[in-house]
Symmetry: C2
């Protein structure tokens, strides 16, 4: 009833490793085969045209191995043509419908050079961001402007102190959007000006990163406004805007600004240990593929529940070789205090951005001094 076309395919394939919950190998193999069909033809196997569609388009189980109790790892490869050279469709082939099935988890993936060439990734990467900020060696320091409810003048006042005290990246809290408390344009102008003024005094290159998480048709416009107002980078939450909106910002030659990814609304991918997407793949590999120069996530031992191993996996995914896709900075935050810095330094080494928000206010009554103390801890 269906045509059985002969296709002209490159033979290039990308591979996704899934963790599969299954009692025994036969069940694991059945589930892996289901994934291979679901993510491509989405068609019953017996009805799928038996030629190139079944042989080439349907995913191929490259390996299946036990990985603990009732847990298996399946490497499934897909023809690069299924992804159509678009991040949106690549994500769809990796995990679109399978996201709806409990007990399936994307652990990691491997893209061939032909596909990687379509995704330049971070515009700056670790080395580029270091040069941009004039910080060749030590960890970078980041804090957030908050709380929501302060007006643009008040936020700019904080930004000035942070920059004066030696913070490298002063970002909007991700909850600052375009509310009446501190409307986007006024906030961006005032905060960028405040950081420039502090830089003029210190001779440093601190940057202000406004939050451009915004309605679909406004993301690029806000980013361009920010660039014009003197912002030195962009913060975006791709769980809210879609990952491709971040990729779009990273690619834009008129912007040419570093991009920091915030994990808001992405948490449900990682809250289950055996469903969703691994920390390594989501906050490491995928964030980079989508253009993040820095990838924020909650550090272990703060307000959130990531383990130390999960945080280390993110740092690993942020640097794993992926063709010409540059490594990103792991940016652990989420309730960090200055007391935690030595321990974090030991685990992450120098290639890290330390994100301390409310904790910067706890050290003492003088915010500028607190920042200087923060800087002294890692210099």
């Amino acid at each position: 009833m269906l045509p059985n076309p002969t296709l002209s395919l490159s033979g290039d394939r990308f591979t996704v490793v899934y963790a599969i919950r299954a009692a025994a190998e036969a069940e694991a193999r059945t589930r892996a085969r289901d994934v291979a069909l679901e993510q491509t033809v989405e068609f019953p196997e017996e009805l799928t045209p038996p030629g190139d569609i079944l042989q080439q388009v349907v995913g191929r189980i490259e390996s299946l191995q036990p990985a603990g109790e009732a847990r298996w790892k399946a490497a499934i490869s897909y023809a690069v043509e299924t992804a159509g050279v678009e991040l949106t469709q690549l994500l769809n082939v990796m995990f679109g419908n399978s996201s709806i099935k409990p007990g399936l988890r994307v652990e990691r993936f491997d893209l061939p050079a032909s596909l990687l060439a379509a995704f330049p990734g971070p515009g700056f990467g670790r080395q580029g961001l270091r040069e941009y900020l004039g910080v060749p060696e030590r960890p970078l320091l980041c804090t957030a402007l908050k709380p929501m409810g302060l007006n643009a003048v008040e936020l700019a006042g904080l930004a000035y102190k942070f920059a004066l005290g030696g913070i490298d990246i002063i970002k909007d809290d991700h909850g600052l959007a375009n509310q009446p408390f501190a409307p986007f344009e006024e906030r961006v102008q005032r905060c960028a000006e405040a950081v420039a003024r502090a830089n003029h005094e210190t001779g440093r290159k601190a940057i202000y990163m406004p939050n451009v998480t915004a309605p679909a048709h406004e993301v690029v416009g806000r980013a361009l406004f920010a660039k014009g107002a003197g912002a030195g980078g962009l913060l975006i939450a791709p769980g809210i805007t879609g990952l491709d909106a971040m990729r779009r910002l990273a690619l834009d030659r008129h912007l040419n600004l570093p991009v920091m990814s915030h994990p808001a609304l992405q948490g449900s991918f990682v809250t289950s240990p055996d469903s969703g997407i691994s920390h390594y793949a989501l906050f490491g590999q995928i964030a980079r593929l989508a253009g993040a120069d820095a990838t924020i996530y909650p550090n272990w031992g703060g307000r959130f529940s990531f383990s130390k191993e999960e945080c280390q996996a993110i740092a690993a995914g942020s640097a794993v070789p992926m063709g010409a896709v540059k490594p990103a900075f792991p940016t652990p935050g989420g309730g960090m205090t200055l007391e935690r810095i030595p321990e974090m330094f030991e685990v992450y080494g120098k290639d890290v951005i330390f994100l301390v928000g409310g904790g910067l206010f706890k050290q003492g009554p003088d915010l500028v001094e607190n920042c200087r103390h923060f800087l002294s801890m890692i210099s």
Copy 2:
């Protein structure tokens, strides 16, 4: 150290009901308070400015009730100003950072008229889609063009048969993007033409709905191309593009086309029973707020694991009164066969779109006859 501003707020608040995992009431209350802070000021309570920011901007626990073993329901209200009249920020306040915390789940929400006025929701809704398709009473029929790997001529051949047989909505499989097998523009032109040709023969008003899930800067362009080519609606997977991209399509006066939401990559919100977002809120309330005229989800008893109760909850959320936001059509699919139709009819009633894909090929060798049989089952 921080300013303590006096704010001018409307007093209007929206309310989100969270399910909270906690052993005892005191722990549940602590967790609820954490949510109220995390979703707004993201600041330690003791450092939060004690005036209007702590009293008005921070979320307010309106009620906390037991809801089963180690489970509580907390209704938390937020000032409408925190959401800044943007869907992206509304979602962020509802669940942005809290998505990263296991054992927290958005159950449902309630928006005041002032906020609902900013979100027109579906352009057509149930009644509008019925009028558009000329089907006043019975359930609507939908199928998908697949499998990936067929070319545009072959897909158009299927579309013609589906329309001839009486299917109302012939959508792209959500895996058809812009691959070399059947590039977007050629596919849309051929399939729209095929459905128009069939309509000319049958006198019916079947529509073709291409998939416009695409890179951020191409979604609207593909939708406009589709409109120009004669497509009668749009399919989009907001889990991939971001929900606001769907809202943008639904609002566009130049498009003025019904929009169908596909659940790809949204599954991780619902695979855990006590984390994420409820089926009711995600596929019902949120889909509507983001403009979906029809909301696809996997029916119980198919290839996926939603329960009958979860499916009924989606149907309820797709019709719950939300100001002027129209009800959407629940669109259960995911491995449905014609045998399941009578049971589904009984549960959903007539206000449903039955989505049958591969199952349409199983009935017999003549695809047009299979479609006619499908139609006869619900007429």
